[in-house]
Symmetry: D2
Subunit: 309 residues, 4 copies
């Protein structure tokens, strides 16, 4: 390997230093702020070049290398960057967040201290309707007049729950027990430290349109306001190759080829063999999730299949 100079300095990213400690508000009373970080785009290149046994090159080549690494899922160089965030978030969203096991966490303890005196409130026009096609999602909003009633009821509920909590505390009840009936909307805080590879995985899942609204606000903010400043080249590559990418299965590629070639018969044959074109007793195409997802993907390519069962 190349001889390396003995005097080096920590990698510093001025654009990130400029927002260190700054509270980015999320939801009605949450926030995210960067506490500290290690590395940047340069550290990814540096680590990859240890593997390749090469010294540092120009920025232009760095960009190509980072894009290559990300595209081909060479994840270890991205693990060489680390970031620590301070997060204030409703417990309900935190319950989802904490499922990502690859981070380090210190959360505010409501055994040791009084619970944070704040619960997520919902405004008149923020009450969401159950999605009919997505069993775990929402779609559209309640009329804001109905919303007003719901918001008032929520405000009363929060007031009541808070009073009961505080009364318990004043009576001398153990904090660890007094909290048992606090609502899931209660805010909590935590320090959360994670490497860039695992952070991108988190963002991929939680910036997705299927993620719940609340956690999506946090993830989107981390991506657009923090990661984009910290590692701009990686962020661009991640957007291109991960956020905006489309994946076709082996069978889908075969059918796509036939559709492009306008060979409808073969396209239908392969689809049939894959179980996409079964008929119900009325002779209608049965619901097939795989077929429907494919249709959606090729719509982006301006194509429409002409299924014949």
């Amino acid at each position: 390997m190349q001889e390396q100079s003995e005097n080096i300095e920590s990698i510093k990213i001025p654009a990130l230093d400029a927002i260190l400690g700054k509270k980015f508000p999320v939801l009605d009373d949450g926030f995210i702020r960067v506490i500290d970080y290690m590395g940047g785009d340069e550290a990814i290149v540096q680590a990859a070049r240890v593997s390749y046994g090469k010294g540092t090159k120009q920025v232009r080549q760095d960009r190509g290398l980072i894009r290559y690494l990300l595209r081909h899922k060479h994840s270890t160089p991205f693990e060489m960057c680390e970031i620590k965030l301070h997060i204030r978030i409703p417990m309900d969203a935190w319950r989802q967040w904490i499922r990502h096991r690859t981070a380090n966490v210190n959360e505010y303890s409501t055994r040791y201290s009084l619970a944070i005196d704040s619960a997520q409130t919902t405004k008149n026009d923020e009450w969401r309707l159950q999605s009919s096609d997505n069993k775990q999602g929402s779609s559209g909003f309640f009329d804001s007049q109905i919303g007003q009633i719901l918001s008032e009821e929520e405000a009363n509920l929060h007031k009541n729950l808070k009073e009961i909590y505080l009364k318990r505390i004043e009576m001398g009840m153990a904090r660890e027990q007094a909290r048992k009936d606090l609502p899931l909307s209660t805010y909590t805080e935590a320090y959360w430290k994670i490497d860039l590879h695992n952070l991108l995985h988190f963002l991929k899942l939680r910036m997705d349109s299927h993620a719940q609204f609340e956690i999506r606000q946090y993830a989107t903010l981390i991506g657009q306001e923090i990661v984009s400043k910290w590692v701009p080249i990686t962020w661009e590559a991640f957007t291109d190759f991960s956020i905006n990418s489309t994946e076709f299965s082996g069978v889908e590629m075969q059918i796509l080829k036939k559709i492009i070639e306008k060979d409808e018969i073969s396209a239908n044959e392969i689809a049939k063999k894959s179980g996409w074109l079964e008929l119900d007793k009325n002779g209608e195409l049965k619901h097939s999730l795989e077929r429907m997802e494919f249709e959606q993907k090729i719509t982006t390519l301006g194509l429409i299949p002409n299924w014949k069962a």
Copy 2:
């Protein structure tokens, strides 16, 4: 390495098979049951002997080997056993449980399905007082007459919260939002899969007297009813060398030696040098957590220090 026979069978533990699927009740409406497992004491020995390049020996030597491995914190053979539990637990206790990141988890989704219609209730004589010496613990109980009032209030609260939740659902609110004000006492369920090494670590922390009452009930049950049947030799060794062990720091060993030798002057000198014997302005020994923890430990040995600052 020794030649190994080609036909082997899965390790089966009849005592564990006998309780497979059985619901052990915990708290008022929780439970734990074993869904499946892999390995047993025999698998630990088997794995250790791959490292040592040796074949299987007699049970008596197996016991010695397992005790040796556990005592010397050779953890990898214990990772060769795996267990899968089905757990029903209040979300508040689950929040603590999930902090152990080395397990695999599938939790009941209240985005996809209606929240479980049950919250942990507290009986008249179960309301706990805040501990005065342990900021994150409880100590003693409220008088059951006061407890009765608290329990009734809790019952009303749960009824109210449930009605609000169900009303929101009936109105067509998205499940993911309707749940936001459910209390932390609401039950959840999960499949939880973990290897034996990490399970013992979990038990060490959560069977401890400083762990919160609720999670301690689950941990104790897992240890005494499940692990003891699954890996009886390991469970005995774990009890001896981990649950019941006492650790002395280097300085503590030095002071202990002097106290045993009845050399009070030297004992005091070392304690002083370690900052244990500082005086306040009234000439009294200052509070020193390290000194007090040492005193507690040597009490078990029938020793009492005679500090002179």
Copy 3:
């Protein structure tokens, strides 16, 4: 959630039980054999249904569910299956294997025991040429006459290294030091335990044509002989959606759409904007990895781009 019966049994997969302990040979003196396992396709469905709060359905729906989970990268249900393998492999390939950190490992210790008396030998027709286009790969073979010379030299070398090792041992040298000059081709053995999700990730990387020949033999065998029997539905889905899939970036989808629409001008414009069509001083298209990878992908669709810089 549904009431569940109290008496259950471990999930058993007869097709896997039938090969339990059987040594599948790999390379000249390596092998893989299954020691034990937990779960199967059924356990994946079982875990997913805890999340959805639903009971068990028919096999037909199970297949759809497993395919949905795998396609949408819902990884936690796949973590509910676990397998333990006994592997005999050259240290050089094991060095790559062990980089996958999500498994449990017990390796044969050459500190404690004599090194395994076997090194991977290379036959006359197995000596590989350095790939010219892939800096970290091989391509084609040496003529077997040259190979014969190489194999003989290797045999002498192994003999010599073995003699030196044994002489050191006989002299009374510490095993931990005597081994220092053993070749990387020396065989080692290990127990290796991993969950199905992480195993599939391992297979995706190590069955790939870019993985080194040696480790690819092990990975392919695990996939085709073991995983296919253990979890046949998952294996089929993994083959369709992961092994055989093709991913297009956002920009690639845009260009693909234009090529399908035979709108060459727009295709070229987007490609240009993406930096794919830069010219060198001779007016030739510069080497662009991103462009070339795209060309390769659309070849599968029967398409050829007509670049104009």
Copy 4:
């Protein structure tokens, strides 16, 4: 929680900055150098205080808090510090190192590049004898005249292996295959990134007298030259409570108490019940590892047991 100022800076440790990039030599041709880091003692306190919901206090209290956290194995605050090292080490020692799975790694690739042209050489007086009482250790050295012969033989061997490797490369053999007979003593390099909690665990195991000499040199250097400068308060606490600590099992505490009280009869009874005092056919005390380890521990306390079977 307390209001926190919006403008913060990365935690910088001048004593560590002063050695950033400096190569600390290890063995004949290895080194360790710090590439970057995040946090310090202050970050541990900062994270712990998020849990406790408190602001920053004085240094004196910080020391007490860090010692408390370390003593009571509250590990998460220590995970808030991260360090990245550049390591050059023989592959044989690296094989042990890499077993610690909680770090991030980028290793020099001998598939992509030529193997590092250096193997660990052993000087005349460095050849170690197999330990007779520790099956996996060494004890004492060969006479340096014998050592000279061994070193010369080793030099020839390394020369020969290097020539064969280079000849293979020159012939056009794939690097991934040419390396197969390189000795385990060949140097490799890697970037290795780990959090402080897991680093301390690594040091506990690898600074131990039972760790192999080679890796112990690296671990000791990391501890004494790097961690001691990075987090001096933590390093002191780690030395006191972990490196120098002694652990007694429940049974050992009981026997120790009886020995201190000079109650030999009871001490013997408990020991007997624990299986420590079995006799062989000659009426001699059988070898008992547990008994011997206990004897060794209480020797430190100036005590000698008087066993009577």
